[in-house]
């Protein structure tokens, strides 16, 4: 998910015929990817996720992924024009010298963008509608799904993510990935519907070694409406 950013604004300007007026250097300085705004305040997810963790996680960790992604793709014109989803889905075609940097930082950018958007204040609970039915079909019950995602988060040794993913027919599964690897890089491509960050930086200030407590609290921040929208799109 790439939110509208300065590059899009610039594109509009170019389409409007302003291109001739812009010195080339100005165009070159526009970074391809930018840090999306948080859709809520830093303290909005308290007490489940603390304000300080949100500030550092978004403002330093996610920002570093964006900056390093831009650095990796700088001057690679065709790649800079793609969305982050397109890039991750065709990761094998990314030039070898920068591929690992794009996996790490492009994955980091996309994973965190999904993460912020799928949490919210006054969220939690359980999904309804077609997503609820799909979860029951895949995992028998919401409780069993929750246990499976928690287990995926707990057994990821080191840094990574636990995911609810969909295949291109809308069938659900739970997986985990190492570091910032995205399900979009898998063959066949899996669409991430919901992800929980289990890097220690996601929870250490408040939970230290108690990853299980963090996972239990995180479920109370999940915005199921956003997840349901992703599910509806993925199954089409």
């Amino acid at each position: 998910m790439r939110t509208p950013d300065r590059r899009d604004a610039l594109r509009v300007a170019l389409a409007g015929g302003a291109a001739m007026l812009l010195p080339k250097a100005v165009v070159a300085q526009e970074a391809a990817f930018s840090l999306p705004k948080l859709p809520y305040s830093f303290d909005a997810l308290e007490p489940h996720i603390d304000a300080k963790t949100m500030e550092i996680h978004w403002g330093r960790h996610h920002k570093a992924y964006v900056d390093n992604l831009n650095k990796a793709l700088a001057g690679k014109g065709e790649w800079e024009k793609k969305t982050i989803e397109e890039i991750l889905k065709s990761i094998a075609d990314v030039p070898a010298p920068v591929r690992q940097a794009v996996i790490n930082n492009g994955g980091g950018h996309h994973n965190h963008s999904l993460f912020w958007a799928s949490m919210g204040p006054k969220a939690g609970g359980e999904p309804t509608g077609p997503l609820a039915k799909a979860i029951d079909a895949a995992f028998e019950s919401f409780a069993k799904f929750q246990a499976k995602l928690t287990a995926a988060g707990m057994t990821r040794f080191g840094s990574g993510w636990a995911w609810l993913v969909s295949d291109d027919k809308g069938k659900l599964d739970v997986i985990s990935t190492a570091n910032q690897d995205s399900p979009l890089m898998m063959t066949p491509v899996l669409t991430p519907l919901l992800g929980v960050d289990v890097w220690e930086h996601a929870y250490y200030l408040k939970y230290q070694n108690k990853r299980a407590d963090y996972l239990a609290a995180w479920f109370k921040t999940v915005d199921w409406k956003v997840v349901a929208e992703r599910h509806a799109k993925a199954g089409k």
């Binding site: 040794f157 080191g158 840094s159 890097w199 220690e200 930086h201 250490y204 070694n209």
Partner: protein
């Protein structure tokens, strides 16, 4: 045969010039303890491990039974790595190495500053969780990094110095600033312990 959590050779607050007391308490008392407990659970009831050191077990990690191999790599590695880590730090640490270790550093890297720079580069380039190491391999010093709790012993290399770059090692005090943590680590490095490991490794 069961492994036990070693006692820290100094107080939790002894390394404050580099690592805060709370981090030491949690890192040793919870993270290292969990590795020891999970290692013991993995090898419980398997007499083939009786009397074997964790170093000997890790050196033949590739030949361990499928059903416990990854658990032993993760938790046995975690146990060996952290045991080395605690011993190679000291409240009276810092400064420069001397003797044959100093000579080997000079002949391999040019000077101590270059070794420190390379350890830092390996630490910063390790994406995710892992370690930056100085190892002895074929009698020579090398710098490398490993992912998660993988031990250089699994690759036939003997670690003599390691910097833990899992976020749990530094996040409470340094947050995302891993570079600052690695810089501070040198204030507590116990060079005499590193030198003893170098001697023992048969350089």
């Amino acid at each position: 045969m069961t492994f036990t959590l070693p006692t820290l050779p100094y107080a939790h607050d002894a390394l404050e010039k580099a690592i805060d007391k709370t981090t030491m308490e949690i890192h040793h008392g919870r993270h290292h303890k969990a590795y020891v407990d999970n290692l013991n659970a993995a090898i419980q009831g398997r007499s083939e491990f009786d009397g074997q050191s964790i170093e000997a077990i890790l050196a033949k990690a590739a030949t361990l039974p499928d059903d416990i191999r990854q658990k032993v790599i993760n938790n046995g590695g975690g146990h060996a790595n952290h045991t080395l880590f605690w011993e190679t730090m000291s409240p009276n640490g810092g400064g420069d190495p001397s003797g044959v270790l100093a000579d080997a550093i000079t002949s391999t890297f040019g000077d101590l500053a270059t070794l420190k720079q390379k350890v830092k580069e390996a630490a910063l380039a390790r994406f995710g969780s892992g370690w930056s190491w100085v190892v002895v391999s074929g009698g020579k010093l090398e710098i490398l990094s490993t992912a998660n709790q993988d031990s250089p012993l699994m690759h036939g290399k003997t670690p003599i110095l390691g910097v833990d770059v899992w976020e749990h090692a530094y996040y409470l005090r340094y947050q995302n600033k891993r570079a600052d943590y690695v810089d501070a680590f040198w204030h507590v490095i116990n060079w005499s312990d590193v030198a003893a490991r170098f001697q023992k490794a048969g350089h």
